[in-house]
């Protein structure tokens, strides 16, 4: 699939960036899966708010 594969490629590259940043240590998997599952802005922000320490 042209479009789907582009979307997948972008998300996979995005995951690599997030996982390699110490800022997201411990929550990168949670964030990436929320993005992949299209949970939306509110859910992603909620993850940041609950796990910012």
């Amino acid at each position: 699939m042209g479009g789907k594969s582009i979307s997948d490629l972008i998300l996979s590259q995005f995951s690599k960036y997030v996982e390699s940043d110490e800022l997201f240590e411990g929550i990168s998997a949670l964030l990436v899966s929320a993005v992949r599952e299209k949970k939306g802005a509110t859910k992603i922000k909620e993850i940041l708010e609950k796990n910012h320490k």
């Binding site: 699939m1 042209g2 479009g3 789907k4 582009i6 979307s7 490629l9 972008i10 998300l11 590259q13 995005f14 960036y17 997030v18 940043d21 800022l23 997201f24 964030l31 993005v35 299209k38 939306g40 802005a41 992603i44 922000k45 940041l48 708010e49 910012h52 320490k53």
Partner: protein
């Protein structure tokens, strides 16, 4: 997936039509209004359940059920169907779709439904069909519109939605942070006000608290903790109630309001802010580059002097790549600096405005405490709402400025409003002077420490909230940056692949005049840049300098480049609906070669109103005679009349059988002229006399074609002898003898034609006199056509280690070295 049979009933202008392409290319030609596009619409409908022509801009009132069927069938939609037999991976499958239930595609055998769906998913992008409408979408459209059209083809809507989510989170977090920062400043200000400090610091607070504790005979405390503030202090019997403001607090409030309203730096900062916002409005593209910062920094260290992009390994086509990156790096630094400055200044203004708001509220409370009735409540409300609008605007100044929602009231006017001094501060000053100090030092110390417990708790909570908010803001910005970086990096690869194919296809069409052609297709913010090189003069938009014909070529090439990337091997059908209009004959031939070489497994369905282009497609072996369909004489009751394209010699034979010599002679003359025109073109014949009109007659074409043919044949024999290719020499010499005989015979017959240059005299010929003329020309024609593949022989430059000139056919059976 290819179409084997197609049957259309009551769709658009078609009543009923059946064709059997058997997986091969199809050409439909005929005048405008003959119903060609209705056939395209029917295939489009079969694949997608929609008709592209009835969707998009300007089609608001067009509906599939009303306008997709034949006008006579609007009440009988069950009978408006497209039926096809298709072949996918060697499997024969039947498809049927009716306008009655457009979303339902009947697939037989049913078990192949998923296979068909997978193929037709590509058709839902719309990349199987190129019509005049798409030319407007890709080539001549504005960058933003083009980006939308291509992004929709690439199915990038979801990606854009996710980016919007990250932008929302970033903006929301930034707003939260500004609130948290403002709350902290407010909490500090209240502590400063309560303790009558000049400036906030935790140490100053501790010192002040300890000095108050000493007044109350309590020991000093080492650290300032809410619970310890009154630890060891004896309760003072006349403790004040929290709501009552002390004289000192009111004095401090008055002083702070005066300081805040006299702050020239807020005015200067608000002017600086507006200046920065106006600059960024004009340079919206800079935002994009910020996400590239690290990439560009790395790029500069890697590129060296090679002028090759280290990421893509391709040569930079526009000057020095290193200089380009350095220039971009400077722009990024400037842009980043501006964004940071805007954030800093707006945060500063917001804090000051919020403090002023808070102090005015305290001052008005003092008014009530002293039972003063001087302040006009409406004026006070208006003043507070002006401060509010600035406080809110400072949360997201860039967005509000871009949307034209900047606060109406000028900040300088608000701060210098006489209402503050005359109606709020002066009466309070006067009252304080009259009332004088009322409370003892111990009472004030006790009251202050009591209030300090709450103030300090609020300060510590807001401090924690600000820290948390700052981290969330940083994370939100990082998420957006990473997403944009990932998107740009992947899309650049996609656009790079499309760009490479586009360049390759275009060069194959225009190798003679634009062999150094290059293009740039790249995303820039929400737009898609599309520039092409114009004869070594630099990069320009495709419709800026190139001719209509070249733009048509670009359109075809971009369409094929996108099709190649998106459709891959899943959908083999490509429809070209009357698109090659402004391209000249020579370049059309190159298009035929491109279709044959680059898309050998595709099934093209080509419609055209241009009979010459249709004929060229046949001459170039893109389509066989069997799959040429001539649409003509459309009328509302019958739809188009369909005529199979008959062989010329069959048509002449039919005329002669009917003793219609004038018709036969007309056909021979007309077709011979066109045929030798093509031969001259294919063999790059020399010897045509110069004419300003560039028009020649049959005699001139035939003479040039035959002399060039003989010349090449002689060269081929000589070269074969040099190479000791005895068998080839023998074959070519036999061909030369045969050619001489045919040419000689046709030259005799040519006499008949020469004598009757104006063929009207042929009307006097008897059928038996004309038949040998026809036979001679038939043999003569066959000299220029390969007996194996049926294509016309052509003179080409063979590219290899040592380029050489050859005469060859499509299948390679004819191969003469004519160097």
């Amino acid at each position: 997936m290819k179409i084997m049979n197609l049957e259309i009933k009551n769709i658009r202008g078609i009543k009923t039509i059946k064709i059997q392409p058997e997986g091969h290319n199809v050409v439909i030609f005929g005048p405008n209004g003959a119903g060609k596009s209705a056939l395209v619409d029917a295939i489009d409908f079969l694949f997608t359940g929609k008709i592209s022509r009835l969707t998009g801009e300007g089609t608001k009132f067009l509906k599939l059920k009303e306008h997709g069927c034949h006008v006579d069938s609007r009440d009988d939609l069950k009978n408006t169907v497209v039926i096809a037999k298709i072949e996918v991976d060697g499997k024969n499958i039947s498809l049927m779709r009716s306008i009655h239930r457009p979303r339902f595609l009947q697939v037989k055998p049913k078990k192949e439904t998923n296979l068909v769906k997978e193929c037709l998913e590509r058709a839902s992008f719309g990349i199987h069909l190129l019509s005049r409408r798409e030319i407007l979408r890709y080539i001549t459209s504005e960058a933003g519109q083009r980006a939308k059209a291509i992004m929709s083809l690439l199915n990038l809507g979801e990606i854009e939605r996710q980016r919007s989510d990250f932008v929302f989170i970033r903006n929301d977090s930034s707003t939260d942070f500004k609130h948290a920062d403002s709350n902290l400043e407010k909490a500090k200000s209240e502590v400063v006000n309560l303790l009558s400090l000049k400036k906030f610091s935790e140490k100053a607070c501790l010192d002040k608290v300890n000095s108050l504790r000493i007044i109350l005979n309590a020991p000093k405390i080492p650290t300032l903790i809410q619970e310890k503030i009154k630890d060891g202090v004896e309760p003072w019997p006349f403790g004040a109630i929290e709501e009552v403001l002390t004289t000192k607090q009111i004095e401090n409030t008055i002083e702070e309001i005066r300081n805040l309203t006299k702050l020239d730096d807020i005015i200067l900062k608000s002017q600086e802010l507006e200046g920065l916002l106006e600059k960024l409005d004009k340079e919206a593209a800079l935002e994009q580059y910020i996400s590239y910062k690290r990439l560009i920094d790395e790029g500069i260290s890697l590129v060296g002097d090679k002028n090759v992009c280290p990421l893509y390994g391709r040569k930079w086509k526009r000057g020095s790549f290193r200089s380009f990156l350095i220039e971009k790096q400077k722009e990024i630094e400037i842009a980043s600096g501006r964004y940071e400055k805007i954030d800093e200044i707006s945060g500063h203004i917001k804090n000051k405005v919020d403090l002023l708001k808070n102090d005015i509220i305290l001052a008005l409370r003092a008014h009530k405490q002293f039972k003063l009735e001087i302040v006009d409540e409406k004026r006070a409300e208006k003043y507070m709402s002006q401060l509010d609008s600035w406080s809110k605007a400072m949360l997201n100044p860039l967005k509000l400025h871009q949307e034209g929602k900047w606060p109406r009231s000028n900040l300088e006017e608000i701060l210098s409003n006489p209402f503050v001094e005359d109606a709020v501060l002066d009466p309070l000053d006067h009252t304080l002077h009259v009332v004088g100090p009322q409370l003892s030092a111990q009472q004030i110390a006790w009251d202050t420490l009591t209030k300090m417990e709450d103030r300090w708790k609020t300060y510590q909570e807001t401090l924690e909230a600000r820290k948390a908010s700052e981290k969330i803001k940083k994370m939100a910005q990082a998420l957006l940056d990473y997403f944009v970086k990932a998107r740009n990096s992947i899309l650049s690869d996609v656009y790079d692949a499309v760009e490479k194919n586009f360049e390759r296809y275009y060069k194959s069409l225009h190798s003679e005049d634009e062999s150094g052609f290059c293009a740039n297709i790249s995303p820039k913010q929400a737009e898609l840049v599309f520039e092409v090189e114009f004869y070594n003069q630099g990069m320009f938009p495709p419709h800026a300098l190139h001719s209509e014909g070249h733009q048509d070529s670009m359109d075809v090439c971009l369409f094929f480049a996108l099709n190649k990337y998106l459709v891959k091997e899943f959908l083999d059908v490509i429809i070209l609906d009357d698109v090659i209009m402004s391209i000249d004959s020579a370049h059309r031939r190159n298009i035929c070669r491109m279709l044959r070489k680059s898309f050998p497994s595709k099934q093209f369905i080509i419609t055209t109103h241009d009979a010459t282009w249709a004929k060229q497609l046949k001459t170039e072996c893109i389509v066989t005679k069997k799959n040429m369909f001539h649409f003509l004489n459309w009328n509302i009751d019958t739809g188009p009349m369909l005529e199979m394209d008959k062989d010329l010699w069959d048509k002449i034979k039919e005329d002669l059988t009917n003793d219609d010599v004038p018709s036969a002679a007309h056909k021979l003359r007309r077709n011979a002229e066109c045929f030798f025109d093509d031969v001259c073109d294919f063999l790059r014949a020399t010897g045509l006399p110069y004419t300003a009109t560039r028009q020649w007659d049959l005699g001139e074409f035939a003479s040039a074609a035959i002399s060039t043919y003989k010349k090449y044949l002689r060269r081929a024999i000589a070269n074969a002898k040099k190479m000791d290719q005895n068998e080839k020499v023998k074959t070519l010499e036999e061909l030369e003898n045969k050619a001489n005989e045919v040419i000689k015979r046709s030259a005799i017959e040519q006499w008949a034609i020469n004598k009757n240059v104006h063929y009207s005299r042929w009307e006097e010929f008897h059928r038996r006199d004309f038949e040998p003329v026809v036979e001679a020309f038939k043999d003569l024609f066959n000299l220029f056509v390969c007996s194996s593949c049926g294509s016309m022989i052509s003179h080409i430059r063979k590219i290899g280690r040592k380029p050489e000139f050859i005469v060859t056919c499509n299948c390679g059976e004819v191969f003469w070295n004519v160097e």
